[in-house]
């Protein structure tokens, strides 16, 4: 038996149905389901690395995945598109500006229209929190939340978890600092839920204006001082300063933000020796992270996160397809 066949068999052995009909929130997972997805994603990583021109898998052959992006996102959109194509699905990517949505069609109208086309999976990104949830109630296919407002971005949390497990073996017992613009970050909300569920200790660090007032009720420790917050941390997860989401100024200037909350070598040294750095991208270099740190592969997991993104999304899409029609081949 060839190596490729071994891999395909292992993938099929690992493939288990997704625990819920949609993936809207990190809370849709439980620890066994998350571990199963990670195990599956590990196999996809191996597959992706070994592809080398060989044909894609046929796990979703004949299935249609629609990428519905109401917000610009080259990175996430491409990641989902590649993931679906490697599973053998037909993929339609619909940027908002080219769709009828820009002509005043409501989200529900769009959902009904798309539903009539019988897609198997809808991947949606939208600027309004709850948009993915709303869509899921109006369509007959699986919906994957690729980011809704400042609410959740569950596949990002899953790929972050995958990156961490591959770097550390197990996230249980890790102390992970999520730093920066917590208030506007759906990545933070999904990661807090998933990482905590998997046994990590999560800290939030940021200026008081960028940390929600009730964040201490999320089961995290909250810090406003980087030195205090980073002490003893295994992982430093930086977030993008989302200036475009801010109504009025929440920090005085980007230079001041970088001085106190931007990650550079000096601040990284406050964390545990050997601490690893993450960022969901796209990065504002010199605002929340220094290039010197971001580009150092001995500490940065940022490139790993991009690679793991494709594998984690493959795992989600495949598991959702299996759950919803049992017809994954």
């Amino acid at each position: 038996m060839s190596q490729t066949t071994d891999l395909a068999d292992r993938i099929k052995e690992r493939l288990v149905p997704f625990p819920r009909p949609h993936f809207l929130s990190a809370g849709d997972l439980n620890p066994p389901a998350a571990l199963a997805l990670l195990d599956l994603a590990d196999e996809f990583v191996a597959h992706n690395r070994a592809m080398d021109g060989r044909p894609t898998l046929d796990l979703m052959a004949g299935r249609t995945v629609v990428n519905l992006f109401f917000e610009n996102s080259t990175r996430t959109s491409s990641s989902f598109e590649i993931a679906a194509k490697r599973l053998g699905a037909d993929v339609v990517t619909m940027p908002v500006t080219a769709s009828s949505v820009s002509k005043g069609e409501t989200l529900i109208d769009t959902a009904v229209t798309l539903n009539a086309m019988k897609p198997d999976v809808l991947v949606i990104r939208h600027s309004a929190s709850g948009a993915a949830d709303l869509l899921s109630q109006k369509v007959g296919c699986a919906v994957v939340n690729a980011g809704d407002g400042r609410h959740e971005h569950p596949t990002q949390a899953l790929l972050d978890l995958l990156s961490l497990r591959r770097a550390f073996g197990d996230v249980g017992g890790l102390t992970i600092a999520i730093c920066g613009d917590i208030a506007h970050s759906r990545v933070a909300r999904s990661n807090v839920a998933l990482l905590s569920m998997m046994g990590a200790r999560v800290r939030l660090i940021g200026p008081p204006t960028l940390v929600p007032g009730d964040a201490d009720r999320w089961g995290c420790e909250v810090f406003h001082d980087m030195r205090e917050g980073l002490e003893g941390c295994d992982v430093v997860m930086m977030l993008r300063l989302q200036l475009e989401r801010m109504a009025g100024d929440l920090v005085p200037s980007t230079r001041e933000y970088f001085r106190f909350w931007g990650l550079d070598r000096e601040k990284l040294a406050w964390a545990k020796p050997g601490a690893r750095v993450m960022h969901p991208g796209p990065m504002n270099r010199g605002v929340e992270i220094d290039s010197d740190v971001a580009d150092d592969l001995s500490v940065s997991l940022i490139q790993d996160q991009v690679e793991m993104g494709v594998a984690a999304r493959m795992a989600v899409l495949a598991a959702l397809s299996l759950r919803n029609d049992g017809a994954v081949r």
Binding site: P207, P208, T209, H224, D225, G248, D249, L250, V251, P252, S253, R255, E256, R259, F260
Partner: protein, 427 residues
């Protein structure tokens, strides 16, 4: 630096409630020893200054001083303000950010500190603006200014009307444990006002702001303090109603301090009766009941800082009809004798009036001065509390001469001022 001792003095140290004879030994710019009582042994070869029974206290700390520098140097420079401070027994001044350009970035804070240090007179610190350009809309670089040494953050006389902005300023400042100061004045009720609303202002035909404008704004500010947990200074409190709000906030455990200008402790609304523009102040002079309540608040320790509210305005800005004249008065050089009228005329204990001029503002600003204790900077003031003087505005060292005390007979005279053990003024 040589060592010296000031002996045969009446030591007044509000931080330890000490009022009695004693001596202070100064070495290397700091207080080396404080001897309470008369048993001081004079070491050989030590320079001795005999106070001849005069009062020796920590130098005064004035947290609200305006200068014209940078931008309007003819009004006042840092040098003329420093000379005026030294002559008034004021050893530390905190410059307001309403210069041109405003002190709203770390370079400006650094400029004030370097210029002040180069003058080698009194300690000069900056207060940073809370919002950029003091526009009340966009938060200033509070963190960087804090790091550069700004002692607190305020938009000065401008009220931050935008509640959202102020809430963000307060919340953000919490990351640095930075002190935020605000003038309590509802901007709509106070708009265009040059006096306190009431029978007098109506009779004089002056537009007035009701006293309640102060309370309304203070209630808002205190609600935000409660929400954000900010360290907060009520800047220039002037009404009885606002004092009651302040007391309630304290009782709730909020970290709220208050300052009052010496003018509002010494004058009332009747002083504007002849339209003399030296009494055109902001906030306006209030009713006698408010003044009495402020004095009681000093006695009760409700107010941490008494300020000169030094606001130089040249003659061309004051020689106008009352409503059109610039608000404000100079006060650095008259601060002590004015404060002593509260002792002579209103019965305040000397320690009670010196406390908000020394240890009170020092604690609020996080300074190690303002006390007579070994190790503290030798920032000292020697004064005669009873000496009669007549204020002559023309003789003031300030570039502007807009003093409401001009021509007044007061009691109290500064005899000498030391900053870091160096004498910067001698009568």
């Amino acid at each position: 630096m040589t060592a010296f001792a000031i002996v045969n003095a009446r030591l007044l140290d509000p931080s330890s409630d000490h009022d009695g004879p004693g001596a202070v030994l100064v070495q290397d710019g700091r207080i080396a020893e404080v001897v309470r009582g008369t048993a001081y042994q004079r070491p050989e070869g030590l320079q001795i200054i005999d106070a001849q029974g005069a009062c020796l206290s920590p130098g005064l700390i004035d947290i609200r001083v305006k200068t014209g520098e940078p931008g309007a140097e003819p009004k006042e420079t840092l040098k003329s303000a420093s000379l005026s401070a030294a002559a008034g027994g004021v050893t530390t001044i905190v410059i307001q950010p309403d210069t041109d350009p405003a002190v709203d970035d770390p370079a400006m804070v650094d400029f004030i500190h370097r210029r002040g240090a180069a003058l080698n007179l009194v300690n000069v610190y900056a207060a940073g603006a809370a919002t950029q350009g003091r526009d009340g809309q966009r938060m200033a670089e509070i963190g960087l200014m804090h790091e550069a040494g700004a002692l607190y953050f305020t938009d000065g006389d401008r009220v931050i009307a935008n509640t959202r902005t102020l809430m963000r300023v307060m919340s953000y400042a919490g990351a640095f444990n930075a002190l935020i100061a605000c003038r309590p004045a509802d901007p709509w009720l106070s708009e265009g006002a040059v006096a306190t609303s009431g029978e007098l202002s109506t009779r004089l035909g002056l537009s007035g702001a009701p006293a309640i404008a102060e309370r309304i704004q203070l209630e808002r500010d205190l609600a935000l303090v409660e929400q954000t947990g900010a360290r907060f200074l009520v800047d220039q409190i002037s009404t009885e109603g606002a004092l009651a709000c302040l007391a309630r906030a304290r009782a709730k455990g909020l970290e709220v301090a208050a300052s009052v200008s010496i003018n509002h402790l010494c004058f009332n609304e009747l002083d504007i009766g002849d339209y003399r523009t030296f009494y055109r102040l902001d906030p306006p002079l209030r009713a006698e009941g408010d003044r009495q309540a402020l004095i009681e608040a000093i006695r009760d320790g409700l107010i941490e800082a008494v300020t000169s509210a030094h606001a130089p305005a040249p003659a061309e800005d004051k020689r106008r009809p009352f409503a059109e004249s610039a608000p404000g008065a100079v006060g650095l050089e008259t601060l002590l004798p004015a404060a002593l009228t509260l002792h002579h005329q209103d019965g305040l204990d000397l320690l009670d009036i010196l406390r908000p001029l020394t240890s009170g503002p020092a604690t609020l600003m996080g300074l190690d001065s303002g006390v007579l204790e070994p190790g503290a900077p030798a920032d000292l003031m020697l004064f005669d509390p009873d000496a009669p003087i007549v204020i002559d505005a023309a003789m003031l060292r300030s570039k502007s001469k807009n003093s409401p005390f001009d021509g007044r007979r007061l009691q109290g005279r500064v005899l000498g001022t030391w900053v870091g053990g160096r004498q910067v003024f001698a009568a």
